[in-house]
Symmetry: C2
Subunit: 228 residues, 2 copies
Protein backbone atom coordinates (compact mmCIF):
# COMPACT_ATOMS: atom_id res chain seq x y z
CA UNK A 1 0.00 0.00 0.00
CA UNK A 2 2.95 2.27 0.63
CA UNK A 3 4.70 1.18 -2.57
CA UNK A 4 5.54 4.25 -4.68
CA UNK A 5 5.25 2.33 -7.96
CA UNK A 6 1.77 1.19 -6.99
CA UNK A 7 0.91 4.72 -6.01
CA UNK A 8 2.06 5.97 -9.41
CA UNK A 9 -0.14 3.41 -11.11
CA UNK A 10 -3.12 4.37 -8.92
CA UNK A 11 -2.82 8.00 -9.84
CA UNK A 12 -2.06 7.62 -13.54
CA UNK A 13 -5.73 7.52 -14.50
CA UNK A 14 -6.95 9.96 -11.91
CA UNK A 15 -8.35 13.15 -13.41
CA UNK A 16 -5.78 15.24 -11.55
CA UNK A 17 -2.85 13.41 -13.09
CA UNK A 18 -4.14 11.98 -16.37
CA UNK A 19 -3.08 14.94 -18.49
CA UNK A 20 0.49 15.04 -17.17
CA UNK A 21 3.58 13.91 -19.04
CA UNK A 22 5.72 11.12 -17.59
CA UNK A 23 8.26 13.67 -16.43
CA UNK A 24 5.69 15.83 -14.74
CA UNK A 25 4.15 12.84 -13.03
CA UNK A 26 7.52 11.75 -11.75
CA UNK A 27 8.22 15.22 -10.42
CA UNK A 28 4.95 15.56 -8.55
CA UNK A 29 5.31 12.11 -7.01
CA UNK A 30 8.08 13.48 -4.83
CA UNK A 31 5.41 15.66 -3.23
CA UNK A 32 2.75 13.00 -2.87
CA UNK A 33 2.47 11.04 0.35
CA UNK A 34 0.25 8.33 1.67
CA UNK A 35 -0.81 7.51 5.21
CA UNK A 36 -3.14 5.01 6.75
CA UNK A 37 -5.92 6.01 9.12
CA UNK A 38 -8.48 4.33 11.31
CA UNK A 39 -12.23 4.67 11.58
CA UNK A 40 -13.07 7.60 13.87
CA UNK A 41 -9.58 9.05 13.49
CA UNK A 42 -9.53 12.82 13.08
CA UNK A 43 -7.49 13.64 9.98
CA UNK A 44 -7.72 17.40 10.12
CA UNK A 45 -9.89 20.05 11.73
CA UNK A 46 -11.69 23.03 10.35
CA UNK A 47 -9.34 25.99 10.53
CA UNK A 48 -6.13 23.97 10.40
CA UNK A 49 -3.46 25.48 8.13
CA UNK A 50 -3.63 23.62 4.82
CA UNK A 51 -0.58 22.74 2.75
CA UNK A 52 -1.99 19.73 0.92
CA UNK A 53 -5.15 18.42 -0.67
CA UNK A 54 -6.19 14.80 -0.92
CA UNK A 55 -7.24 11.75 -2.87
CA UNK A 56 -8.75 8.90 -0.91
CA UNK A 57 -7.10 5.61 -1.73
CA UNK A 58 -9.19 3.25 0.38
CA UNK A 59 -11.69 3.30 3.21
CA UNK A 60 -14.00 6.26 3.76
CA UNK A 61 -13.92 9.68 5.38
CA UNK A 62 -16.48 12.35 6.10
CA UNK A 63 -16.08 16.11 5.66
CA UNK A 64 -18.28 17.95 8.14
CA UNK A 65 -18.94 20.98 10.26
CA UNK A 66 -20.17 21.12 13.84
CA UNK A 67 -22.48 23.71 15.39
CA UNK A 68 -21.91 25.35 18.77
CA UNK A 69 -24.23 22.79 20.40
CA UNK A 70 -22.44 19.82 18.85
CA UNK A 71 -24.77 19.08 15.97
CA UNK A 72 -22.96 17.70 12.95
CA UNK A 73 -23.59 18.38 9.27
CA UNK A 74 -21.76 16.09 6.85
CA UNK A 75 -20.78 18.13 3.81
CA UNK A 76 -19.38 15.22 1.79
CA UNK A 77 -18.82 11.53 2.19
CA UNK A 78 -15.60 10.57 0.45
CA UNK A 79 -15.07 7.19 -1.17
CA UNK A 80 -11.91 5.75 -2.83
CA UNK A 81 -10.77 7.62 -5.92
CA UNK A 82 -12.45 10.85 -4.91
CA UNK A 83 -10.41 13.97 -4.30
CA UNK A 84 -11.18 16.74 -1.86
CA UNK A 85 -9.92 20.08 -0.58
CA UNK A 86 -8.45 21.08 -3.94
CA UNK A 87 -9.78 24.56 -3.22
CA UNK A 88 -7.16 25.19 -0.56
CA UNK A 89 -4.59 25.43 -3.36
CA UNK A 90 -6.03 28.80 -4.31
CA UNK A 91 -6.52 30.42 -0.93
CA UNK A 92 -4.47 33.33 0.36
CA UNK A 93 -4.47 32.01 3.91
CA UNK A 94 -5.06 28.32 3.24
CA UNK A 95 -7.06 26.62 5.97
CA UNK A 96 -9.34 23.62 5.77
CA UNK A 97 -12.95 24.79 5.76
CA UNK A 98 -14.27 21.56 7.36
CA UNK A 99 -13.32 18.77 9.73
CA UNK A 100 -12.27 15.44 8.27
CA UNK A 101 -12.65 12.16 10.15
CA UNK A 102 -12.33 8.55 9.02
CA UNK A 103 -15.45 6.42 9.06
CA UNK A 104 -13.75 3.24 7.86
CA UNK A 105 -10.09 2.27 8.08
CA UNK A 106 -8.25 3.28 4.95
CA UNK A 107 -5.41 5.22 3.38
CA UNK A 108 -5.19 8.82 2.29
CA UNK A 109 -3.02 10.29 -0.44
CA UNK A 110 -1.93 13.87 0.13
CA UNK A 111 -0.62 16.18 -2.58
CA UNK A 112 1.35 19.26 -1.64
CA UNK A 113 -0.43 22.35 -2.89
CA UNK A 114 2.66 24.33 -3.79
CA UNK A 115 4.08 21.58 -5.98
CA UNK A 116 0.79 20.92 -7.71
CA UNK A 117 0.23 24.59 -8.49
CA UNK A 118 3.64 24.60 -10.16
CA UNK A 119 2.40 21.79 -12.37
CA UNK A 120 -0.77 23.67 -13.18
CA UNK A 121 1.37 26.47 -14.60
CA UNK A 122 2.75 24.03 -17.14
CA UNK A 123 -0.29 21.93 -17.87
CA UNK A 124 -3.35 23.82 -18.99
CA UNK A 125 -5.21 20.55 -19.50
CA UNK A 126 -4.71 19.79 -15.83
CA UNK A 127 -5.82 23.29 -14.90
CA UNK A 128 -8.90 22.80 -17.01
CA UNK A 129 -9.60 19.49 -15.31
CA UNK A 130 -9.35 21.16 -11.91
CA UNK A 131 -11.63 23.99 -13.01
CA UNK A 132 -14.14 21.52 -14.44
CA UNK A 133 -14.16 19.63 -11.15
CA UNK A 134 -14.67 22.82 -9.19
CA UNK A 135 -17.53 23.77 -11.52
CA UNK A 136 -19.13 20.38 -10.83
CA UNK A 137 -18.84 20.96 -7.11
CA UNK A 138 -20.43 24.38 -7.40
CA UNK A 139 -23.32 22.79 -9.28
CA UNK A 140 -23.68 20.14 -6.62
CA UNK A 141 -23.69 22.81 -3.91
CA UNK A 142 -26.48 24.67 -5.65
CA UNK A 143 -28.47 21.48 -5.94
CA UNK A 144 -27.95 20.89 -2.26
CA UNK A 145 -28.92 24.41 -1.25
CA UNK A 146 -32.04 24.02 -3.36
CA UNK A 147 -32.86 20.69 -1.71
CA UNK A 148 -32.35 22.20 1.75
CA UNK A 149 -34.51 25.26 1.17
CA UNK A 150 -37.09 24.35 -1.45
CA UNK A 151 -37.69 20.68 -0.61
CA UNK A 152 -38.68 18.71 2.47
CA UNK A 153 -36.95 15.80 4.18
CA UNK A 154 -38.85 13.18 2.19
CA UNK A 155 -37.65 14.71 -1.07
CA UNK A 156 -34.09 14.77 0.19
CA UNK A 157 -34.18 11.13 1.22
CA UNK A 158 -35.73 9.97 -2.07
CA UNK A 159 -33.36 12.13 -4.06
CA UNK A 160 -30.43 10.73 -2.12
CA UNK A 161 -31.46 7.16 -2.79
CA UNK A 162 -31.71 8.00 -6.47
CA UNK A 163 -28.17 9.40 -6.47
CA UNK A 164 -26.91 6.03 -5.25
CA UNK A 165 -28.12 4.10 -8.28
CA UNK A 166 -25.95 3.88 -11.42
CA UNK A 167 -26.63 6.42 -14.16
CA UNK A 168 -29.78 5.74 -16.18
CA UNK A 169 -31.00 2.65 -14.35
CA UNK A 170 -34.57 1.50 -14.92
CA UNK A 171 -36.78 -1.03 -13.22
CA UNK A 172 -35.65 -2.84 -10.08
CA UNK A 173 -32.30 -2.20 -8.45
CA UNK A 174 -30.58 -2.77 -5.13
CA UNK A 175 -28.24 -0.28 -3.49
CA UNK A 176 -26.15 -0.40 -0.36
CA UNK A 177 -26.01 2.65 1.87
CA UNK A 178 -22.43 3.95 1.81
CA UNK A 179 -22.29 4.65 5.55
CA UNK A 180 -24.18 4.15 8.77
CA UNK A 181 -27.58 5.75 8.89
CA UNK A 182 -26.45 8.31 11.45
CA UNK A 183 -23.90 9.63 8.98
CA UNK A 184 -26.39 9.63 6.11
CA UNK A 185 -28.85 11.53 8.29
CA UNK A 186 -26.18 14.12 9.09
CA UNK A 187 -25.55 14.46 5.37
CA UNK A 188 -29.24 14.95 4.55
CA UNK A 189 -29.65 17.42 7.42
CA UNK A 190 -32.28 15.41 9.25
CA UNK A 191 -32.18 13.59 12.58
CA UNK A 192 -31.67 9.82 12.60
CA UNK A 193 -35.25 9.53 13.85
CA UNK A 194 -36.63 11.38 10.87
CA UNK A 195 -34.54 9.34 8.44
CA UNK A 196 -35.80 6.15 10.05
CA UNK A 197 -39.41 7.27 9.84
CA UNK A 198 -39.07 8.43 6.25
CA UNK A 199 -37.59 5.11 5.18
CA UNK A 200 -40.44 3.34 7.01
CA UNK A 201 -43.06 5.43 5.23
CA UNK A 202 -41.46 4.73 1.86
CA UNK A 203 -41.42 1.02 2.73
CA UNK A 204 -45.09 1.14 3.71
CA UNK A 205 -45.84 2.69 0.34
CA UNK A 206 -43.88 -0.17 -1.25
CA UNK A 207 -41.55 2.25 -3.00
CA UNK A 208 -38.53 0.65 -1.34
CA UNK A 209 -37.60 -2.35 0.80
CA UNK A 210 -35.01 -1.83 3.51
CA UNK A 211 -32.94 -4.61 5.10
CA UNK A 212 -30.20 -3.18 7.28
CA UNK A 213 -28.10 -1.05 4.93
CA UNK A 214 -29.42 -2.63 1.75
CA UNK A 215 -32.23 -0.83 -0.05
CA UNK A 216 -34.14 -2.52 -2.86
CA UNK A 217 -35.99 -0.21 -5.22
CA UNK A 218 -38.57 -2.31 -7.08
CA UNK A 219 -39.27 0.42 -9.63
CA UNK A 220 -36.87 3.31 -10.07
CA UNK A 221 -39.29 5.21 -12.32
CA UNK A 222 -42.05 5.03 -9.72
CA UNK A 223 -39.74 6.29 -6.99
CA UNK A 224 -38.66 9.19 -9.19
CA UNK A 225 -42.30 10.18 -9.64
CA UNK A 226 -42.62 10.35 -5.86
CA UNK A 227 -39.99 13.06 -5.54
CA UNK A 228 -43.01 15.22 -4.62
Amino acid sequence: MNDPAQLARDLRHHYLFAALSEGQRARILAHVHIRGFNAAELLFSQGDPAHAFFVLQSGAVKLYRVSADGQEKVMRLIRPGQSFAESVMFMDDPRYPVHCTGIENGALISIECRAFVELLKESFDTSRAVMAKMAQRIQAHWDEIEALTLQNSRYRVVHYLLTLIPEGSRGAITVTLPARKIVIAAQLAVTPETLSRTLRTLSDEELIEVHEDVVRIPDVGRLQKHLH
Copy 2:
Protein backbone atom coordinates in the same frame (compact mmCIF):
# COMPACT_ATOMS: atom_id res chain seq x y z
CA MET B 1 -22.57 53.10 -21.76
CA ASN B 2 -22.18 51.16 -24.96
CA ASP B 3 -18.85 52.77 -25.72
CA PRO B 4 -16.21 50.08 -26.31
CA ALA B 5 -13.38 52.27 -25.02
CA GLN B 6 -15.27 52.85 -21.80
CA LEU B 7 -15.98 49.13 -21.59
CA ALA B 8 -12.28 48.40 -21.97
CA ARG B 9 -11.51 50.81 -19.15
CA ASP B 10 -14.20 49.24 -16.95
CA LEU B 11 -12.76 45.79 -17.39
CA ARG B 12 -9.08 46.65 -17.13
CA HIS B 13 -9.07 46.37 -13.37
CA HIS B 14 -11.52 43.54 -13.10
CA TYR B 15 -9.99 40.37 -11.70
CA LEU B 16 -10.87 38.45 -14.85
CA PHE B 17 -8.92 40.81 -17.08
CA ALA B 18 -6.31 42.38 -14.85
CA ALA B 19 -3.59 39.83 -15.66
CA LEU B 20 -3.97 40.08 -19.44
CA SER B 21 -1.59 41.81 -21.80
CA GLU B 22 -2.84 44.69 -23.92
CA GLY B 23 -3.01 42.41 -26.95
CA GLN B 24 -4.94 39.74 -25.11
CA ARG B 25 -7.36 42.29 -23.75
CA ALA B 26 -7.93 43.70 -27.21
CA ARG B 27 -8.58 40.25 -28.60
CA ILE B 28 -11.13 39.26 -25.96
CA LEU B 29 -12.96 42.57 -26.34
CA ALA B 30 -14.23 41.37 -29.70
CA HIS B 31 -16.10 38.68 -27.79
CA VAL B 32 -17.46 40.88 -25.03
CA HIS B 33 -20.88 42.46 -25.39
CA ILE B 34 -23.06 44.70 -23.30
CA ARG B 35 -26.80 44.98 -23.11
CA GLY B 36 -29.21 46.99 -21.03
CA PHE B 37 -32.02 45.38 -19.08
CA ASN B 38 -34.98 46.44 -16.99
CA ALA B 39 -36.08 45.57 -13.50
CA ALA B 40 -38.09 42.35 -13.55
CA GLU B 41 -36.68 41.41 -16.98
CA LEU B 42 -35.76 37.74 -17.31
CA LEU B 43 -32.18 37.56 -18.57
CA PHE B 44 -31.87 33.79 -18.77
CA SER B 45 -33.59 30.71 -17.39
CA GLN B 46 -32.27 27.69 -15.60
CA GLY B 47 -31.49 25.06 -18.22
CA ASP B 48 -30.86 27.50 -21.07
CA PRO B 49 -27.81 26.61 -23.21
CA ALA B 50 -24.93 28.77 -21.98
CA HIS B 51 -22.32 30.26 -24.28
CA ALA B 52 -21.33 33.22 -22.16
CA PHE B 53 -20.75 34.27 -18.60
CA PHE B 54 -21.24 37.73 -17.15
CA VAL B 55 -20.04 40.79 -15.30
CA LEU B 56 -22.68 43.19 -14.07
CA GLN B 57 -21.93 46.75 -15.11
CA SER B 58 -24.77 48.56 -13.38
CA GLY B 59 -28.09 47.89 -11.70
CA ALA B 60 -28.80 44.60 -9.95
CA VAL B 61 -29.85 41.05 -10.81
CA LYS B 62 -30.81 38.01 -8.79
CA LEU B 63 -29.78 34.41 -9.45
CA TYR B 64 -32.45 32.05 -8.17
CA ARG B 65 -34.24 28.75 -8.41
CA VAL B 66 -37.95 28.06 -8.16
CA SER B 67 -39.65 25.04 -6.59
CA ALA B 68 -42.54 23.15 -8.17
CA ASP B 69 -45.00 25.18 -6.09
CA GLY B 70 -43.50 28.50 -7.11
CA GLN B 71 -41.37 29.21 -4.06
CA GLU B 72 -38.23 31.15 -4.88
CA LYS B 73 -34.74 30.78 -3.41
CA VAL B 74 -32.30 33.52 -4.30
CA MET B 75 -28.86 31.99 -4.68
CA ARG B 76 -26.98 35.24 -5.20
CA LEU B 77 -27.74 38.92 -5.45
CA ILE B 78 -25.40 40.47 -8.00
CA ARG B 79 -24.17 44.05 -7.74
CA PRO B 80 -22.03 46.08 -10.19
CA GLY B 81 -18.53 44.70 -10.71
CA GLN B 82 -19.47 41.19 -9.69
CA SER B 83 -19.13 38.33 -12.14
CA PHE B 84 -21.29 35.24 -12.30
CA ALA B 85 -21.76 32.00 -14.18
CA GLU B 86 -18.04 31.56 -14.83
CA SER B 87 -18.58 27.87 -14.13
CA VAL B 88 -20.42 27.32 -17.41
CA MET B 89 -17.06 27.73 -19.16
CA PHE B 90 -16.06 24.32 -17.89
CA MET B 91 -19.20 22.29 -18.45
CA ASP B 92 -19.55 19.57 -21.04
CA ASP B 93 -23.13 20.51 -21.82
CA PRO B 94 -23.13 24.11 -20.70
CA ARG B 95 -26.47 25.24 -19.29
CA TYR B 96 -27.23 27.91 -16.75
CA PRO B 97 -27.94 26.27 -13.40
CA VAL B 98 -30.24 29.11 -12.19
CA HIS B 99 -32.66 31.71 -13.44
CA CYS B 100 -31.46 35.30 -13.73
CA THR B 101 -33.80 38.28 -13.51
CA GLY B 102 -33.13 42.01 -13.15
CA ILE B 103 -34.21 43.67 -9.93
CA GLU B 104 -33.08 47.18 -10.92
CA ASN B 105 -32.53 48.60 -14.40
CA GLY B 106 -28.95 48.17 -15.46
CA ALA B 107 -26.49 46.82 -18.00
CA LEU B 108 -24.89 43.42 -18.30
CA ILE B 109 -21.55 42.56 -19.85
CA SER B 110 -21.36 39.11 -21.41
CA ILE B 111 -18.12 37.30 -22.21
CA GLU B 112 -18.13 34.44 -24.67
CA CYS B 113 -16.93 31.28 -22.97
CA ARG B 114 -15.06 29.83 -25.93
CA ALA B 115 -12.98 32.96 -26.44
CA PHE B 116 -12.20 33.34 -22.74
CA VAL B 117 -11.09 29.74 -22.40
CA GLU B 118 -8.66 30.36 -25.25
CA LEU B 119 -7.21 33.18 -23.20
CA LEU B 120 -6.95 30.99 -20.15
CA LYS B 121 -4.69 28.67 -22.12
CA GLU B 122 -2.23 31.52 -22.55
CA SER B 123 -2.55 33.26 -19.21
CA PHE B 124 -1.96 31.11 -16.18
CA ASP B 125 -2.37 34.13 -13.94
CA THR B 126 -5.88 34.57 -15.26
CA SER B 127 -6.57 30.87 -14.78
CA ARG B 128 -5.36 31.16 -11.24
CA ALA B 129 -7.60 34.15 -10.67
CA VAL B 130 -10.58 32.18 -11.95
CA MET B 131 -9.70 29.21 -9.77
CA ALA B 132 -9.26 31.45 -6.74
CA LYS B 133 -12.67 32.97 -7.37
CA MET B 134 -14.26 29.55 -7.70
CA ALA B 135 -12.59 28.47 -4.47
CA GLN B 136 -14.08 31.52 -2.74
CA ARG B 137 -17.51 30.62 -4.04
CA ILE B 138 -17.16 27.05 -2.80
CA GLN B 139 -16.26 28.42 0.63
CA ALA B 140 -19.28 30.70 0.56
CA HIS B 141 -21.52 27.78 -0.38
CA TRP B 142 -20.25 25.77 2.54
CA ASP B 143 -20.90 28.66 4.86
CA GLU B 144 -24.40 28.94 3.46
CA ILE B 145 -25.10 25.23 3.79
CA GLU B 146 -23.89 25.41 7.36
CA ALA B 147 -26.12 28.41 8.07
CA LEU B 148 -29.11 26.63 6.56
CA THR B 149 -28.65 23.38 8.44
CA LEU B 150 -26.89 24.20 11.69
CA GLN B 151 -28.34 27.63 12.42
CA ASN B 152 -31.80 29.15 12.83
CA SER B 153 -33.43 32.04 11.04
CA ARG B 154 -32.34 34.57 13.63
CA TYR B 155 -28.70 33.60 13.13
CA ARG B 156 -29.07 33.89 9.38
CA VAL B 157 -30.56 37.35 9.59
CA VAL B 158 -27.94 38.63 12.03
CA HIS B 159 -25.15 37.04 10.03
CA TYR B 160 -26.52 38.58 6.86
CA LEU B 161 -26.60 42.05 8.41
CA LEU B 162 -23.00 41.57 9.49
CA THR B 163 -21.97 40.68 5.93
CA LEU B 164 -23.30 44.03 4.77
CA ILE B 165 -20.95 46.09 6.90
CA PRO B 166 -17.44 46.92 5.66
CA GLU B 167 -14.61 44.64 6.75
CA GLY B 168 -13.52 45.11 10.34
CA SER B 169 -16.00 47.79 11.38
CA ARG B 170 -16.48 48.48 15.08
CA GLY B 171 -19.00 50.52 17.00
CA ALA B 172 -22.01 52.11 15.31
CA ILE B 173 -22.67 51.75 11.63
CA THR B 174 -25.53 52.19 9.18
CA VAL B 175 -26.20 49.87 6.26
CA THR B 176 -28.72 49.95 3.46
CA LEU B 177 -30.41 46.73 2.44
CA PRO B 178 -29.30 45.94 -1.11
CA ALA B 179 -32.76 44.87 -2.29
CA ARG B 180 -36.38 44.77 -1.25
CA LYS B 181 -37.09 42.73 1.85
CA ILE B 182 -38.94 40.08 -0.15
CA VAL B 183 -35.76 39.38 -2.12
CA ILE B 184 -33.61 39.33 1.01
CA ALA B 185 -36.02 36.90 2.63
CA ALA B 186 -35.80 34.64 -0.43
CA GLN B 187 -32.03 34.78 -0.11
CA LEU B 188 -32.07 33.90 3.59
CA ALA B 189 -34.57 31.09 2.99
CA VAL B 190 -37.23 32.52 5.28
CA THR B 191 -40.65 33.96 4.54
CA PRO B 192 -41.08 37.75 4.42
CA GLU B 193 -43.17 37.42 7.58
CA THR B 194 -40.37 35.73 9.47
CA LEU B 195 -37.82 38.28 8.29
CA SER B 196 -40.11 41.09 9.42
CA ARG B 197 -40.63 39.49 12.84
CA THR B 198 -36.93 38.80 13.29
CA LEU B 199 -36.00 42.40 12.50
CA ARG B 200 -38.68 43.55 14.93
CA THR B 201 -37.31 41.32 17.69
CA LEU B 202 -33.79 42.61 17.10
CA SER B 203 -35.13 46.16 17.22
CA ASP B 204 -36.94 45.44 20.48
CA GLU B 205 -33.67 44.18 21.89
CA GLU B 206 -32.08 47.43 20.70
CA LEU B 207 -29.50 45.55 18.68
CA ILE B 208 -30.59 47.35 15.51
CA GLU B 209 -32.84 50.20 14.38
CA VAL B 210 -34.75 49.73 11.15
CA HIS B 211 -36.17 52.58 9.06
CA GLU B 212 -37.41 51.34 5.69
CA ASP B 213 -34.36 49.76 4.05
CA VAL B 214 -31.83 51.47 6.30
CA VAL B 215 -30.53 49.52 9.27
CA ARG B 216 -28.53 51.21 11.98
CA ILE B 217 -26.38 48.96 14.13
CA PRO B 218 -25.49 50.87 17.30
CA ASP B 219 -22.84 48.36 18.35
CA VAL B 220 -21.43 45.88 15.87
CA GLY B 221 -19.61 43.93 18.54
CA ARG B 222 -22.78 43.46 20.58
CA LEU B 223 -24.68 42.25 17.52
CA GLN B 224 -21.90 39.77 16.76
CA LYS B 225 -22.22 38.35 20.27
CA HIS B 226 -25.89 37.74 19.58
CA LEU B 227 -25.17 35.36 16.71
CA HIS B 228 -26.49 32.74 19.18
